[in-house]
Symmetry: C2
Subunit: 288 residues, 2 copies
């Protein structure tokens, strides 16, 4: 719809969004959606590029969704910079940006929640009990508003992608879910809007997440088959960073996210670490 150089069309209401999408549909274009919370980085932009490559129109939503933050989490502090986001989206050619406020997203008397059991329970689900309920609900709302052919999510939030795939299958949502690879900084730190919270010293220490995932990969390559040994070695490495505090590190089945007893095939290493006050997550698929 737009030149790569021009800013995407910005809409803030569901009505405007539906009208813009309907116009694109009437033109016979397919629709891609990349749901984001803004503070865009190369990880987000890779979703936009993936959508551009296979959809006629690419919609990006920017909404810091209160219902996926728990009490005491960083909802108020979460970085917001719509102007900078629009510049970045212009550069990679997004067509339409939906940036609603809270009242537009959650109407008066909102009372409906989507609960995805199973894959939503362990790991992040244990640390943040209402997180995936908030994620599933807002993503379903966005899918219903846009009705995209495809929706794009990042693999950094591996469990989130599993939750969304489960929800879309269970509720027969007619959208194909694409999950795009993690984009990393030079030292391996997974790109995240929350990296902006890190000061120079914390930023240096944050590389320990990726380093511990590489250690796990190396141990599996060397023939280690006991997940407990690998978890212990990762834990020791992470705890060697002075300001790091581990929320969890786990080796789990990549499909069910349940703990495994022994490594007999591909396994997901997933972890959540606080560096000072900043909580970071990362993951890596380990192959034998």
């Amino acid at each position: 719809m737009n030149d790569a150089s021009s800013r995407p069309t910005l809409v803030t209401t569901v009505d405007q969004l539906r009208r813009a999408v309907a116009a694109a549909r009437a033109d016979g274009r397919s629709i891609g959606l990349a749901p984001t919370m803004g503070a865009l980085h190369e990880g987000h932009l890779s979703l936009v590029r993936a959508s551009k490559a296979e959809c006629g129109v690419t919609v990006v939503s920017i909404f810091v969704n209160p219902s996926q933050f728990g009490p005491g989490e960083d909802l108020a502090a979460y970085p917001r910079d719509l102007d900078a986001d629009l510049d970045k989206l212009a550069e990679c050619g997004a067509d339409l940006v939906f940036a609603p406020d809270n009242e537009e997203m959650y109407g008066e008397g909102h009372a409906t929640w989507v609960d995805v059991g199973s894959v939503a329970r362990p790991l992040e689900g244990e640390c943040r009990p209402t997180h995936f309920r908030g994620v599933a609900t807002v993503v379903l709302k966005l899918l219903n508003m846009v009705g995209p052919d495809r929706a794009y999510f990042g693999e950094k939030d591996y469990q989130q992608a599993r939750v969304i795939r489960r929800m879309v299958a269970d509720l027969d949502v007619p959208t194909v879910i694409r999950v795009c690879p993690i984009v990393r900084e030079a030292d391996g730190l997974a790109m995240s809007s929350r990296n902006a919270y890190l000061d120079v010293d914390a930023r240096r220490q944050a590389a320990i997440l990726w380093k511990s995932l590489c250690l796990a990969d190396e141990l599996v390559s060397q023939g280690e088959r006991d997940p407990r040994t690998i978890v212990r070695r990762m834990r020791e490495m992470i705890e060697s960073a002075e300001d790091a505090r581990l929320d969890y590190v786990a080796l789990v089945d990549p499909d069910t996210l349940e703990p495994i007893e022994r490594i007999e095939g591909p396994v997901l290493a997933a972890l959540a670490v606080r560096i000072g006050a900043t909580r970071l997550i990362d993951n890596r698929l380990l192959k034998m």
Copy 2:
């Protein structure tokens, strides 16, 4: 699509359903959906006729949804007669019938549930704690499978209609919900597939539900403004039927379904009564 005299097209898989609906869409036809559990009666057929009157293609789903029955309820006994249903649907000109089995509706590992708070909590929600979770989930699945312009529900299940309206609004489902008036037998008994459970004597006694709703209406017309008085009079009347046992009778706000303290505007009288082993519900909007 079909002559009034010919049977509707019967499909049993989601793929067949989506293909048939896509063909109708490609023809530029609008789609109406009437979700049912089969054992069709005039109440259901009134939904089909309402859809026929304003939609190009009318889809009827027939699925006895296990997840909306609680333990000890009548899932196994629930009347099923697809052949008779298809004859009735042929007569009123339904175009497409979707009659899946349990495996087709709930795939392996199904784990996602839609929880509608607020209006789902009182009345039926109190008696049947997982009922509306099952209803909301299966209705959302059907809406996502068919993608109808309009979906039709009966006012006999007043609270169900409120739950579905709430869900559709909260999750931004792009379907208009229509709620059609209760169809009643000559003695006022609301049509229900469960009326088939009643023997001659129980059938005679079942008229007490409607009679008590008429009493409530009369009392309000006469100027009674205290809901407790009206509920007491209804209770006394119902308990005079020898095999009747009251689950609940309540005068509530027609929007929120919360109890009211004093009648100052339209109020919903709702009740659930067991006649022998058969549980029946009914309701009536009382106007001052």
